[in-house]
């Protein structure tokens, strides 16, 4: 029967029968209505999507992970304040996405930076919007970060066993502020330039390490052509990488330790019966 059909690629051809098995299912259904191999393939094509997901899930173990991560139990009284951390992370993701696309047009050269930034704003399609989102998004991220920190503090969510998550959060705060500092230079207008001069000299005022810190930031004793490339590398590679890694650690600890109930919810005291006492 199979000899009559056009030659199929090897992987579509039916496997030869094992010695104990009967003749394989023919490729084309028989006139009497018995379904062939092609009919079965056609039937299963509709279930392809589900099969792909199932195939991946079986090999990666995604669904048990997601079940534990997304459907974990949260305390009674969980409210909108608990979304501030996710909001901050969303702001970070939006900064990362808009930043990647800004990097396609931006030129971190001291003689070209200002022109390329104004080119983004004035010439590129939707450039003003993307640059605006990146600029205002940075402020939004810092505001959300402080609100998230205030929520954690006021709700007492930094206490045992979550102290380490507070520490990671503080490092994330410092890194986010460093993003603000390094990003401020990149438009390279008068304001960026002088603000960076002042900011680097503020770093220089620290005793003992200050002069070294300032030289590291500037890439030398004077503000020079390598200062802007240095800030650019810190702004788009080093600090975002650290932030992404620490967000991962932060989330892992949140999932592992769970969230705290709001402080106004008291533990429900059960009236003990005489027998229990």
């Amino acid at each position: 029967m199979s000899k009559l059909t056009p030659p199929l690629p090897k992987f579509l051809r039916p496997a030869p029968p094992r010695p104990s098995e009967k003749e394989p299912t023919p490729d084309i259904g028989e006139p009497n209505g018995k379904p062939g191999r092609a009919d079965k393939l056609r039937e299963s094509a509709g279930e392809g999507g589900a099969q792909v997901i199932g195939w991946l899930d079986e090999r990666t173990g995604t669904s048990p992970f997601l079940r534990g991560f997304l459907f974990r139990k949260v305390p009674k009284g969980t409210n909108w304040f608990y979304s501030l951390g996710s909001a901050t992370m969303f702001a970070f993701v939006s900064q990362a996405v808009t930043g990647v696309f800004l990097a396609m047009y931006y030129n971190p050269d001291a003689t070209r930076a200002y022109e390329s930034a104004s080119y983004i704003t004035n010439e590129v399609f939707a450039g003003e919007l993307v640059r605006g989102m990146h600029k205002w998004g940075s402020t939004v991220m810092i505001v959300l970060l402080f609100l998230h920190m205030a929520r954690t503090f006021v709700f007492g969510a930094y206490k045992y066993p979550r102290e380490l998550n507070w520490v990671i959060g503080v490092v994330l705060l410092v890194l986010t502020l460093a993003m603000g500092l390094t990003g401020y230079l990149l438009p390279f207008d008068q304001r960026s330039y002088w603000a960076t001069i002042v900011a680097v000299n503020l770093n220089a005022s620290a005793p003992l390490i200050g002069p070294f810190l300032a030289d590291f930031l500037r890439g030398g004793a004077e503000f020079s052509s390598v200062t802007i490339t240095r800030f650019y590398a810190l702004h788009m590679l080093l600090i975002p990488g650290l932030i992404a890694a620490l967000i991962g650690a932060h989330l892992y600890l949140v999932a592992k330790l769970g969230t705290t109930a709001p402080p106004w919810l008291r533990a429900e005291k059960k009236e003990l019966t005489k027998e229990e006492i």
């Binding site: 001291a110 003689t111 002042v198 220089a204 030398g220 020079s224 052509s225 200062t227």
Partner: protein
């Protein structure tokens, strides 16, 4: 007594004494321990081989003294006098375009009003007083006003007198100066140096670095390599 107890708790020195199967005579490190240590050491060496040069690459600017041995012409001697500063523009870094330019204020050295200052570092006074416009508070550009003979910083209100010494506001030391010399009747400006409140000469420092008394030891000079 105490010694006996610690001897009892300590593991035997030789693996053969710990009753390990296949132990060699005189063997002190297990093969598993040796392989673990070897793998860690190999990984550490391989990581250090790329990480240390990359780190040095990034940190190198911290360990250079940053002085540029370059003389720049700022005009003929007739441009300058001892009673007023003349603004001139020099290039601190040609690679950064406008950002590499810096304004300086130049006047002739006046042996009477400028008491023989130690800023020259020797008996031979620098023939011109060349002041940097970089405010030593946080680096904003100062401007010279002829009527009060003062330099004023727009950012936080630092004020300097005619010699560049601090007259008010937050700055921590006088304005930085530049070397100057006269070649064929033209004034040339050399490298930057910093001075403390007695106009004693120091290697170039960042703004906000104190240079008086014990403070000077908290803000070390750039190492010269």
């Amino acid at each position: 007594m105490a010694e006996n107890r610690s001897d009892k708790n300590r593991k035997p020195r030789y693996t053969a004494d710990r009753g390990m199967p296949g132990a060699f005579e005189g063997e002190t490190v297990t093969r598993r321990g040796f392989m673990t240590g070897g793998a860690l050491a190999a990984g550490g060496i391989a990581s250090a081989a790329f990480a240390l040069p990359a780190l040095g690459f990034a940190l190198a600017p911290m360990f250079t003294d940053g002085t540029v041995d370059r003389w720049q012409d700022v005009g003929p001697e007739s441009d300058f006098n001892p009673t007023a500063y003349v603004p001139k523009v020099i290039n601190t870094d040609p690679g950064v375009g406008e950002a590499g330019k810096a304004t300086i204020y130049v006047r002739k050295f006046d042996p009477e009003s400028d008491k023989p200052s130690p800023s020259d570092g020797g008996s031979d006074p620098i023939p011109y007083v060349v002041l940097s416009t970089r405010c030593v508070h946080l680096g904003c550009p100062v401007r010279y006003y002829q009527a009060p003979k003062r330099f004023v910083c727009p950012c936080h209100g630092g004020i300097y007198d005619f010699q560049g010494k601090v007259d008010g506001g937050p700055p921590v030391r006088p304005l930085d100066r530049f070397e100057a010399r006269v070649t064929n009747g033209r004034v040339e400006v050399g490298e930057r140096f910093s001075v403390n409140s007695e106009l004693r000469r120091f290697s170039p420092r960042d703004p906000s670095n104190h240079l008086d008394g014990l403070w000077q030891y908290l803000y070390p000079a750039r190492p010269s390599t």
